[in-house]
Each structure stands twice: as structure tokens, then as C-alpha cells.
């Protein structure tokens, strides 16, 4: 085998593996003959039993009951005068009159879509298929179909993330086909110092993949990186893999004994800081930063000084030195004594079982209980009664005793946050904002929270500055950062350019705009409350879908809207440029497009996921207009009334250049 042939073979192997890895492992099993036989015969028996169960009725086809074609035609009832024939060669075997079906209107074409309330980021690299555009397109547009085929079957090694790269290395390492290892081949000789070093390492350590794996990947996909890079990538990944703690078990009998930090690890990594949602569908791309945000100095409520019930640890004199104690009046004691226990015994048992304790051993602390205690004591420092209440399986006395063993976190030692030094202050922030082109700023770049510990948000360091964005409240820079948007101080309704938020195409931020939004949860348009928050509060109008007067389906307003009123948010899947291009080509062919450019990197596609507003048609004289606003760090598309619109009117907006594709849905 020549070197070229060898490489070609390897390329095939790699391609197969990559396809498998990106598409997920095919989950098809091949089987032993005997087990197939067994299953096959069981299945046959099952069919027989089900046949009995089904008991299909045997009916009569009484031909005489049917009016013949001729008699119908004579009766003239159906009006079907056309004759149809059945031929055998040229001979007419049977003929009769057609019965015309009553006319029925179809609804306009549409495809199943999934209503969503907010944008989402789709999972990447979904396997696709080539859609069917009709035989005509296939005939005429061979190139187009061919390019689609290529795209669908394209092996994209670039798309392999770290996890999948490891899978690939492992898969290739497992290949044992002797023909593919031509040792004499140049390919497999260590070429650099690093390579030979790795060679000796892997010879010693059997668990490391052999050198050829990386050489082959490099030889087949030179553009993907050098052998050396692959080796280093693998080593780094392997290291971090080992270091990484897998999500620890924190409940049930198998729970681990962990400190509070580790107990909360999963929750922390899954929580989206921007939406306060677990497993947020939108901000999947945000890099996780393992750092606490600067927290304001927490003010705790004063500890309750009264015992929580008659058995409270505070009544126990031996603990007196540690807890403030007020003598209990007899009357109060009585009252507490009468009080029912907070939880019934059954409930306690249930909780105990969940926390891994057996019924008999309620006294000892299970690992799950320990974990829970450590988390809770962080939030209720010194308040053992509250912790006990939440734990349910332990009394406050138990909790107190345990805290002594643990070395209690009392309030005094709790996080000491240095007093903030406000370097810039609001006024200087506002100044910077004034200098940005008269306050107007085109924010076309998606916002990513900046993170550069130890240095200020300067150009070249801060990702926000690089992108020309303001820093937002989700950035890791100090609150005093000079590039943060200061918010507005309007007392009005924030609907004019006088409002800096409105002027900068942003919705007001409840954390920044203290005057217009301070405490005003209820928005009242008649008073002077902020009206620049409709997107984030989902205060859209009622909408209906119905057959459009123009084409296909249309979107109709269910209540009257004044000029400038917020109608709805245009929501969809947030896709990047590559995905947008490949989807766009298919949509153009099928003459359906629901894509809307969001910013420089992302496009919203409402084809599969969207809101009712996706049905709104294009018009050059529209009654609605779209505006892209920055809402709490996210770009979102709002549709607003351009003029007064009556209830029941169809909605249109100008798709313009932002709308990818053509002019009619």
C-alpha cells in the first residue's frame, strides 16, 4: 500500500468516526442468532394473541344497497355528468358517472411550529436531511441539490468540541486493522522532539493513546492543527477531565460528605446569571466564570431571640453562654407546648428517607443532611431554629450540637466585604456616555459579559470595549466601571429621545433606572410611569392567526393599539451566520422565510420556534415597525404600531433589508 492509499483509507476511517461522533453514536445492535430466534417466535405468539384480542368484525357488503352510478346520474342529484371508464386494453370493462364531492376550502399552507415566549439558542449541529422541493427542482437544479447533499454529508472536523475530540481520539486508538498500520510509512515516524517525547511517554503509560492517532488526524486534516497541537490539546483535556469533579451525589443514602461549595456546584454551573433560570435555553454560549460576583454587604435580619418551641435549644441552660436567652414566661411556654409539631411524623420519615436516613436512625447525621446543613447555615448564619425548620428531620437542638462539632459559622465571621470605593461614580459614567456620539450608539454586536480580573475595562482588555458595547450589570468588572451604561433618570414615561435609554435603543433597566422604575411594578400608562419596559415584561397585544387578505396566513390584532404601542416580540431560534446561510438557501427554495437579522452575529429564525407575530406579512406601507432593542444585555426585536390600529386589522411590517429572503411569506 502506498502512502497515499494509506492516508486515503485513514481519511475514510476518520470521516466515519467523525460522522458517528457528531451525529451521536448509532444505537443499533447486531445480535446473536439464538436470541433473534427467541425474540422472533415470542413476537409471533404475541401477534397471535393480539389477533384474538382485536377480533376484527366481519361485515356485510350488500351491493344492492348502493345506488348505482347510472341511477344517480338519472336522478340528477349529484350533477355528476362526467363518465369514467375502466379499461382493459382498449376494451371498456366498466363505466359509470362520477359523483362530485362538495367543494371544500383548504386552509393556507403552513408547517408545524412551536410557540415560544422568548428567544432560544438551538443545540448545535443537528443532523438534517435534504428536503423535497418537487421533481422539477430536482431536475432543474441539480447543482443546488448537489450542494445541499454535500452540506448534509459534509464532515466537519472543525465542529468537534473538546468532548468530541476526546471521543475521536479514543475511537481512532481502538482501530486494530493491521493493514492500516504500515510501520514503514513515513507518516508514523516521530518527526519532532515533542512527538518522540510523547512516543516514549505513551510506551510507558498504556492508557495514553498511541502517537499515530494524532499523526493520522493531522495527516488527514492538516488545516485542523498540527500533531503537536493535538497532543497538547489531548493532554490538557485529559488533565482537566481528571481534575473535574463530576456532579456529586448530594441526596439519598449514597450522598457524599461535601462542603457547601461543592454541594452547590451543579446548581451554580447550571444557573444562568442573566435569566436566573437553570439550564437557560438562550445563554448557552456564555463562558462560565468561576468567580463570585462582588456582593453587596448583606444585611441580615436580627436573630430571633425567642425560643422557637418548648424544646428549643435556647431553653437549654448549658448552651446559655452561646445564645442570647430570654426567660420564658410560663404562659408562653404553655402556649408553645400546646403547639403542634411543625411536621407530622410521616412527613419526617419521608424526608428522612430522601435524605438517606433510615427510620430508626433519626439521631445520627447522614451525609445528605450534613450537606444540606452546610448550605443552609450559609444563608441563616447562627439561626439554628430556621435551619432545623428547613431540615425537618432534625431539631434545633441537634442542629446546634452539630454546629458546635462543625465549628460554627457565626455572623461575625461572615464574608467581610471591603467597602466599595466608587472610583467614577454616576456622574463620570454619565460623562462617558455623553461622549459616545451624542449618546447614540449603534449596538450591533452581541453582548458578552466581560471578565478580565485585575484590570479596568480598557480597550484591548475588555471584550465589551472591543465590541463597542457598554458594560452591563452582568459583567465581572466592578460596579463603578466607567463604561457601564448609567441608566436614565427620567421622571417621565421614557418614550422620547429625552430618555437616554430610549435614545440608545435600550429598554429601561430596573437595576439602573431608579427614577422611572423605582418600585413601580404596576405600570400605568395614564400616569407618568416608565413605558420603556414592555418587551421585558411581555406586555404585548392580543393577536390572532387567520387567513391573510394578501397571502397565506396573516396576523391580526385582537385589541386596539395606539401609535407607538408595543405589539409583540419577534421571537425565534437564535442562529449564527453559517447556520443562517444554510437554512436561508433551503427557505428561499421553498419560498418561506421567517428569518430576521438580530445583530452582527445572530439571526432569529421563527420557522420552527416562534410567536404568532411570525405570521405578519410584508407590506411597503406597513402599519407596524420593528425595533431592535437591548434588553438587559440581550438584543430583542420588538414590533411596534406605526399608527393607530383598530381591533381586527391585519398587521404588516416592512421586512426591509433585515429580513433575509424574499418579500412574501
Amino acid at each position: 500500500m502506498t502512502e497515499d492509499e494509506l492516508l486515503k483509507k485513514w481519511r475514510d476511517v476518520l470521516e466515519r468516526e467523525i460522522v458517528q461522533i457528531t451525529a451521536g453514536q448509532p444505537k443499533v445492535k447486531k445480535l446473536e442468532k439464538s436470541s433473534v430466534l427467541n425474540a422472533w417466535q415470542t413476537n409471533r405468539k404475541r401477534i397471535e394473541s393480539k389477533l384474538e384480542d382485536r377480533n376484527m368484525p366481519l361485515l356485510q357488503w350488500d351491493v344492492e344497497d348502493f345506488p348505482s352510478n347510472n341511477s344517480m346520474a338519472n336522478g340528477g342529484k349529484t350533477g355528476g355528468s362526467k363518465k369514467v371508464k375502466l379499461m382493459d386494453g382498449k376494451k371498456v370493462v366498466s363505466e359509470g358517472h362520477v359523483m362530485d364531492l362538495p367543494k371544500a376550502e383548504t386552509c393556507p399552507n403552513w408547517t408545524t411550529w412551536i410557540p415560544i415566549q422568548r428567544n432560544l439558542m438551538p443545540d448545535k449541529a443537528l443532523p438534517t436531511n435534504i428536503p423535497y422541493f418537487g421533481d422539477e427542482v430536482i431536475e432543474k437544479d441539480k447543482n443546488f441539490i448537489g450542494s445541499l447533499e454535500e452540506e448534509v454529508n459534509h464532515v466537519n472536523i472543525e465542529s468537534l468540541n473538546d468532548e468530541k475530540f476526546l471521543q475521536l481520539v479514543e475511537a481512532v486508538d481502538k482501530h486494530k486493522d493491521a493493514k492500516l498500520f504500515n510501520v514503514k510509512s513515513e507518516v508514523f515516524h516521530p518527526k519532532s522532539k515533542c512527538e518522540s517525547q510523547y512516543c516514549s511517554e505513551s510506551a510507558k503509560n498504556g492508557s495514553l493513546p498511541r502517537l499515530f492517532v494524532f499523526q493520522v488526524i493531522h495527516a488527514c486534516y492538516p488545516e485542523y492543527g498540527s500533531t503537536e497541537q493535538h497532543i497538547n490539546r489531548y493532554k490538557n483535556l485529559n488533565k482537566s477531565l481528571r481534575k473535574e469533579q463530576f456532579a456529586p451525589n448530594i441526596d439519598g443514602p449514597d450522598a457524599m460528605d461535601l462542603p457547601a461549595e461543592k454541594t452547590l456546584h451543579t446548581f451554580k454551573t447550571l444557573l444562568c446569571r442573566r435569566c436566573f433560570l437553570f439550564d437557560c435555553p438562550l445563554h448557552k454560549d456564555d463562558p462560565p466564570v468561576d468567580e463570585r460576583l462582588q456582593q453587596p454587604n448583606a444585611k441580615y435580619l436580627p436573630l430571633p431571640t425567642e425560643p422557637c418551641n418548648s424544646n428549643c435549644y435556647k431553653n437549654n441552660n448549658s448552651n446559655g453562654a452561646l445564645s442570647p436567652r430570654t426567660p420564658m414566661s410560663e404562659r408562653r411556654k404553655e402556649k408553645l407546648g400546646d403547639q403542634k409539631e411543625l411536621y407530622s411524623d410521616e412527613y419526617k420519615m419521608e424526608v428522612a428517607a430522601y435524605l438517606g436516613g433510615s427510620n430508626s436512625k433519626l439521631d445520627s447525621w447522614t451525609n445528605a443532611e450534613k450537606c444540606l446543613y452546610r448550605v443552609l447555615i450559609g444563608y441563616y448564619p447562627g439561626n439554628f431554629c430556621a435551619v432545623a425548620k428547613i431540615l425537618a428531620t432534625k431539631s434545633c437542638e441537634d442542629v446546634f450540637q452539630f454546629s458546635v462539632k462543625e465549628g460554627s459559622t457565626s455572623r461575625g465571621e461572615k464574608r467581610k466585604v471591603a467597602p466599595k470605593v466608587n472610583k467614577f461614580g454616576k456622574s463620570s459614567q454619565a460623562q462617558l456616555y455623553k461622549h459616545t456620539e451624542n449618546g447614540w450608539k449603534e449596538n450591533k454586536k452581541p453582548y458578552i459579559p466581560c471578565h478580565h480580573p485585575g484590570s479596568d475595562c480598557l480597550p484591548g482588555v475588555c471584550s465589551c470595549r472591543e465590541n463597542g458595547n457598554f458594560c452591563e450589570k452582568f459583567c465581572y468588572c466592578p460596579i463603578s466601571c466607567s463604561t457601564r451604561f448609567p441608566g436614565c433618570r427620567c421622571r417621565g414615561n421614557c418614550k422620547t429621545k429625552m430618555c437616554p435609554c430610549f435614545f440608545a435603543s435600550r429598554e429601561c433597566d430596573p437595576d439602573l433606572c431608579n427614577n422611572c422604575l423605582d418600585g413601580k411594578l404596576e405600570l400605568n400608562p395614564s400616569t407618568n410611569s416608565c413605558q420603556n419596559v414592555y418587551l421585558q415584561r411581555y406586555l404585548g397585544k392580543k393577536l390572532h392567526v387567520a387567513q391573510s387578505d394578501i397571502a397565506g396566513m396573516g396576523c391580526f390584532l385582537g385589541e386596539t393599539a395606539e401609535k407607538g404601542d408595543f405589539i409583540a416580540e419577534y421571537v425565534g431560534e437564535m442562529i449564527n451566520q453559517d447556520e443562517c446561510e444554510s437554512r436561508g438557501r433551503v427557505y428561499d427554495k421553498s419560498k418561506m422565510s421567517y428569518m430576521f437579522t438580530l445583530n452582527d452575529e445572530y439571526t432569529l429564525d421563527a420557522a420552527r420556534f416562534g410567536g404568532i407575530i411570525r405570521f405578519a406579512n410584508h407590506s411597503s406601507k406597513p402599519n407596524c415597525q420593528s425595533k431592535i432593542l437591548l434588553v438587559n444585555g440581550d438584543h430583542r426585536i420588538g414590533i411596534y404600531a406605526k399608527q393607530k390600529i383598530e381591533k381586527g386589522e391585519e398587521l404588516f411590517f416592512d421586512y426591509g433589508k433585515d429580513f433575509v429572503g424574499h418579500d412574501l411569506i
Binding site: A23, V28, K29, L31, K33, S35, V36, L37, N38, A39, W40, N43, R44, R46, I47, K50, L51, D53, R54, M56, P57, L58, L59, Q60, W61, V63, D65, F66, S68, N69, M72, T78, V84, K85, L86, M87, D88, V93, G96, V98, M99, D100, L101, P102, K103, A104, E105, T106, C107, N109, W110, T111, T112, I114, P127, T128, N129, P131, Y132, R608
Partner: protein
């Protein structure tokens, strides 16, 4: 089998669907319906005594035509009226309207409008003759109640099909639905959840004309099982075969497989992540274009599939071991056009096949 007749419908357009009425005894008369062009035609033909090749009797009983010339019927299915025991015929096609026909009164008794695009296949529930399943180009499946016109369930959405659904089938107990489509995937939907059972019940109580309150259709976004590993192209036909599924793509083969573990109990829940097991792959020559559908007899002992060159491949599934399955090829020198669908009579003695050139072929077991 031997060929006992072939006829041609005068429109000359492709016939896409054929269905033999399975609720009739086929010992004396055979009744079947064809779908193609804008027509649905019902035929009856007396059953020949075995071995008689001479007679060529067939009678066109009824013919329905849609007034819209753009209509092109793709599929037909038989059921019966639960009260009067009269036959019912359902047909649908490119316009996405389901026509419910009553041959007894020779009229169209209902239209179901709702699908956003063409309907590719119709199936009736094996136990409840009022429950109709339709699959559509709009990526979804719908279940309807014939009595009240209620749309009971829509299967599709988040984890549903991502392209046209081409075929679907109820299992024999009517508890599960398998569906397949252009997205290469096969999905199993549970039709026996509490939610759906309640909706079926409620669908009998709703009154389409009496009340303004519309029936609350159940939206089912998540199949019980889904796989893209069986086929590598459009999957255009799937049928339950006991706990197994038989499906085909345009890859010159028919595959018999089982979702989930091979020895898993039926009641054990399969999940979306589960693997599937291929039992047997049957090679099928010249089956490389899509929208060709096979059929089985009511006892699921025999499978018949037409191909692109006008031949019918018949597999005997009633064998000891799946590797013993043998294929017999039925061919006639005059039958050269693509066979779109076959339908077997209740006993499996007769196969009716319909072709792209509007011909109908009848094959009789020897």
C-alpha cells in the same frame, strides 16, 4: 400467486393508494378502493375459484371526484360505522382535506380541515372505527374522531418530525403509533397516556355544531422513542409487526427491527435515548425511489411490496427464524411502471397493486 387481471383507469395519472376493505369476507367478493388524480374509485370483483385464470370480472361501483382539479388523492382507508355497520371510506391527498365517504349513501359525510399541507397517509384505529390517524407534509400527525369531527391529538413539535411525515401505523392493540418521514427518523408515540385517553373520551362528548367551545386538542411534542439509525434516507413506509416494526426507505431494503432492547418486555418503557435492534434486513431490488408502500395481510404472515420496475416482492414472514424469510417475485411482462402501493385482502389470498400509469393489477394465490 398468479396474475388474474389488469385494468387501467381512463385518466392515465398515477394511482398512489389502494386499500382492500378488510372488514369483508373475501371468499366471494372483493371490494377495494383506489386513490389517484382527483378521484377515489370503489371497485368490486367476484372472487375467482382457485386456479381459474380466465375470468376477468371487475365492476366499478362508485367513483368520487374532487371539484378542484389540483386535488391529487394519495391515500385511502376503510372503516365502518359503529352503529349501522355500513362501510366508511376515508381519503386524502395534496390539498390536505380528509374526505369521509359513505358508500352506502354515496356521499361525502364529513371533511376534516386542519392540516397545513398535503396528507400522505390515513389509518384507522384497529379497535375503535371512529378514530382516524392522518400524517401530513406539515410535519405533524393528527388523530380525529369521525363521530364528532373533533381533532383529538396532534403529534409533533419539539421532538417531532422535522420534515414531511410519510407514513404511520397503529399497533394491533391501538396503544402505540409508529411514524416515519423525510427526516430519516422513525418515532413511536404513545396513544395510551392518561391525557390522550381522556381526550378520546371527551371527543365523543363534544358537539361540533351545538357549542361554541372548541374541543381542546392535545398537543404531544415528545415521542416515546425516536431513532435515525435504521435508515439513511427518506423513510416512506412503516408498519407494526407485533412488537417489531417493519420499515423501508429508498435504499433497496426493508428492515425489521425493534425499538429498545430485544428482550425488553413490552410494558417496559422505552425512552428516547434507547438503542434499537435490527432483527432482519430484507433486500428489495429496484426499490430506490420514495413513496412506495408495502402491505401485510391481517394476520401479519405475509408482506407485499411493489418496486420501481413493476414487480411485486412477496415475503413469507411466517417462518421459524427470520433468516429463513424468502422472497418471491411476481412479475408480468406488461407491468413495467412503478407500483406505488399494494393491498392484501383479509385472508392474504389476493393482492391488489396500483401503478404510476393508472393501472390496477390483481394477483391471486395459487
Amino acid at each position: 400467486y398468479h396474475c388474474t387481471g389488469n385494468w387501467r383507469e381512463d385518466h392515465g395519472q398515477a394511482l398512489f393508494g389502494v386499500a382492500v376493505n378488510p372488514y369483508l369476507s373475501d371468499t366471494d367478493t372483493l371490494v377495494f378502493a383506489t386513490a389517484g388524480f382527483n378521484r377515489v374509485t370503489v371497485y368490486q370483483s367476484p372472487q375467482q375459484p382457485q386456479g381459474n385464470t380466465g375470468s376477468n370480472e371487475i365492476e366499478m361501483v362508485q367513483c368520487y371526484a374532487d371539484p378542484d382539479p389540483d386535488e391529487n388523492f394519495y391515500t385511502v382507508a376503510w372503516s365502518y360505522d359503529a352503529d349501522t355497520k355500513k362501510p366508511i371510506l376515508a381519503a386524502a391527498g395534496v390539498r390536505g382535506i380528509i374526505r369521509i365517504l359513505s358508500p352506502a349513501s354515496m356521499s361525502c359525510i364529513r371533511n376534516f380541515i386542519g392540516h397545513g399541507n398535503a396528507i400522505n397517509e390515513l389509518k384507522f384505529h384497529p379497535k375503535d372505527p371512529n378514530i382516524l390517524l392522518s400524517v401530513s407534509r406539515d410535519h405533524a400527525l393528527r388523530v380525529w374522531n369521525l363521530k364528532t369531527e373533533a381533532n383529538i391529538v396532534i403529534f409533533g413539535g419539539v421532538e417531532g418530525h422535522r420534515d414531511e411525515v410519510l407514513s404511520a401505523d397503529f399497533d394491533m392493540s391501538g396503544e402505540k403509533i409508529v411514524s416515519c418521514g423525510m427526516d430519516h427518523s422513525l418515532k413511536v408515540w404513545n396513544f395510551n397516556t392518561e391525557n390522550i385517553k381522556e381526550a378520546v373520551k371527551a371527543s365523543y362528548q363534544t358537539n361540533p355544531n351545538g357549542s361554541k367551545i372548541t374541543f381542546a386538542t392535545v398537543n404531544c411534542h415528545f415521542p416515546e422513542f425516536s431513532t435515525r439509525d435504521i435508515h439513511r434516507n427518506y423513510v416512506d413506509c412503516c408498519r407494526w409487526f407485533g412488537d417489531f416494526i417493519i420499515s423501508k426507505s429508498c435504499e433497496n431494503s426493508v428492515i425489521c427491527w425493534k425499538p429498545g432492547n430485544l428482550d425488553a418486555n413490552r410494558n417496559e418503557k422505552t425512552t428516547i435515548e434507547d438503542e434499537s435492534t435490527i432483527i432482519q434486513k430484507l433486500d428489495a431490488k429496484d426499490c430506490d425511489i420514495w413513496f412506495i408502500r408495502f402491505s401485510m395481510d391481517s394476520e401479519e404472515k405475509c408482506l407485499a411490496l411493489g418496486n420501481r420496475t413493476g414487480k411485486i416482492l412477496v415475503w413469507d414472514l411466517d417462518v421459524e427464524h427470520p433468516s429463513d424469510i424468502r422472497c418471491s417475485v411476481l412479475s408480468n411482462p406488461k407491468c413495467v411502471s412503478t407500483i406505488r402501493q399494494t393491498s392484501m385482502s383479509r385472508s392474504g389470498n389476493t393482492i391488489i397493486a396500483v401503478c404510476d400509469d393508472a393501472t390496477i393489477w390483481r394477483w391471486q394465490k395459487n
